[in-house]
């Protein structure tokens, strides 16, 4: 297998409701990434989208975006893994270049949630025969996890409040972020109860967005970009499908094994990681991922947030450009935004949000109720 690097990134601003169509969003992200890499052709395009077949009545996304980007005749396929589809597209593009099948591959993610009702569609990542008929949703499963966490570890009601507060602080100077304003702990705790004990400001927003990255063999990377970022590891692990069937629902086994599989593949220790883009679709998920990846003992992840260790100068900076909470979570595109942000961090282009001396960055994407977890590690 060849070493693979990111040689181009392209992001569109995340918006509550974009004026661009699904097709245009995807095409524009591809064009921006290809322009950044200085190429007008790729060998393969791998697209991620979760909801277009529900919301826009559109399947066959990869060929649609390829055409919109004028990539006639190109290999174009879709990668899916519920909410982790963006990372799945990265992984397939990575494998395509690593194997030698493609010399230039693009991974693109697009989602336009503003044109429909997202929650029931998102809940289709749960077991349709078991959880959904009982009235459970993706949000309610996370609410149950939060209650379990608060109850088992005696965490105060406002114990997770710093996750969204920090995410919003970090989004302020990200031109692509949906919410560029700070929120206070009090505002989080007084926000509407969505499903008790989960509050609105702990949940990532419904939004539109698209992002893309171009991958090339590391050996040729500098021909495209003076500052390539190497993919040190790509890992995907699945858990028992339903939370109900897991030995301990608060131990995210897929996140744990994917993290440690990635550390092994990258030949690094957890301590070597300078920043961690978590999948903070809900604050509790960010907290449990920190524990699963080894940054905190079980029941102690919330303390990293309380003690400001998740900020830019902290022990493990997370959501450094706003995360899913404040940059936004346009589902199928989210994994691609995470890579773009890590590339900006590792190449010293993160502006006010720059993590100092950042050389190794990790991202994790979560599909379903932590059923499918992908971890990628990048380095310069």
């Amino acid at each position: 297998m060849r070493s693979v690097s990111v040689v181009g990134i392209g992001q569109l601003p995340v918006e509550k409701a974009s004026n661009l169509s699904l097709r245009q969003l995807g095409g524009e992200a591809v064009r921006r990434a290809m322009e950044d890499a200085g190429v007008d052709r790729v060998d393969a395009l791998f697209a991620s989208n979760m909801l277009a077949d529900e919301i826009q009545g559109q399947k066959h996304i990869a060929a649609l975006i390829a055409e919109e980007a004028n990539l006639f005749g190109v290999e174009a396929l879709q990668a899916r893994a519920a909410m982790a589809g963006g990372a799945a597209a990265i992984r397939v593009a990575f494998l395509s270049v690593a194997s030698g099948e493609a010399d230039l591959a693009i991974a693109v993610g697009v989602e336009k949630m503003s044109e429909g009702v997202a929650t029931p569609a998102l809940s289709k990542a749960l077991d349709a025969a078991r959880e959904v008929p009982d009235g459970a949703t993706m949000i309610s499963k996370n609410a149950e996890l939060k209650r379990m966490y608060l109850d088992r570890y005696n965490v105060p009601e406002d114990g997770l409040v710093n996750f969204p507060v920090v995410a919003h602080d970090h989004a302020r100077s990200n031109p692509f972020a949906l919410y560029k304003k700070a929120i206070s702990p009090g505002e989080v705790q007084s926000s509407r109860v969505v499903h008790a004990p989960l509050r609105l400001f702990e949940c990532s927003p419904i939004c539109d967005g698209a992002a893309a990255v171009v991958l090339a063999p590391s050996e040729q990377a500098r021909a495209y970009n003076p500052n390539p970022v190497q993919i040190l590891a790509s890992s995907v692990v699945t858990d028992r499908f339903c939370i109900d069937d897991r030995e301990d629902p608060l131990q995210l086994e897929a996140a744990h094994h994917s993290s440690y599989d990635a550390y092994r593949k990258a030949n690094i220790n957890r301590e070597d990681i300078h920043l961690f883009e978590v999948h903070d679709a809900f604050s509790i998920m960010a907290c449990l991922q920190l524990e699963a990846a080894g940054f905190a003992e079980p029941g102690q992840g919330w303390l990293l947030a309380v003690e400001d260790e998740i900020r830019l100068q902290g022990q493990i900076p997370i959501t450094t450009m706003g995360g899913l909470k404040a940059r936004g979570h346009p589902i199928g595109a989210t994994g691609l935004y995470q890579v773009c942000e890590i590339v900006l961090q590792l190449t010293g282009r993160a502006g006010e949000n720059q993590v100092r001396n950042a050389e190794i960055g990790m991202m994790q994407s979560v599909g379903g109720a932590a059923t499918t977890v992908l971890t990628h590690i990048f380095g310069v």
Binding site: P133, D134, A136, S140
Partner: protein, 133 residues
């Protein structure tokens, strides 16, 4: 989901019938014919007692389509006394606020309606076990 698939899982939905592994005695719910503990075939029916306790729960104020008329409702993970966790709604909780660890028992209730014809779906819910004097 179509009516036929409801019919197929009707027994499991109505009455908490799962399986017991003949090899390692694991109690399996929902039935899947393969034991998740030891990987061997497990097809022996097992009737769960329907007793358990609340493992976690949440209350939904904005219900998904088909469940609007029930909102707000409380959905829980119930740990059956035989071991497995099941997702189910709590009912009759106007008499007692739910809490983690609260003893509950199974009852059959309407779960919601589905499709254009509004077909009613019945299944298990759990209610607090009332302490007897």
């Amino acid at each position: 989901m179509e009516i036929t698939s409801h019919w197929r899982i009707k027994k499991q939905r109505y009455s908490l019938v799962g399986e017991e592994c003949p090899h390692c005695s694991a109690k399996i719910f929902p039935p899947r014919d393969i034991c998740p503990e030891c990987g061997d075939e497990a097809k022996d029916h097992y009737q769960f007692s329907g007793r358990g306790e609340v493992y976690s729960y949440t209350t939904l104020y904005n219900a998904p389509a088909g469940y609007e008329e029930q909102a707000p409702y409380t959905v829980a993970m119930v740990q059956l006394e035989e071991g497995p966790l099941v997702t189910a709604q709590l009912t009759d909780i106007d008499v007692k606020e739910p809490e983690v660890g609260m003893p509950v028992e199974m009852v059959t209730r309407k779960l919601g309606s589905e499709g254009d014809r509004g077909i009613l779906i019945y299944g298990y819910k759990f209610r607090p076990v009332l302490e007897t004097a």
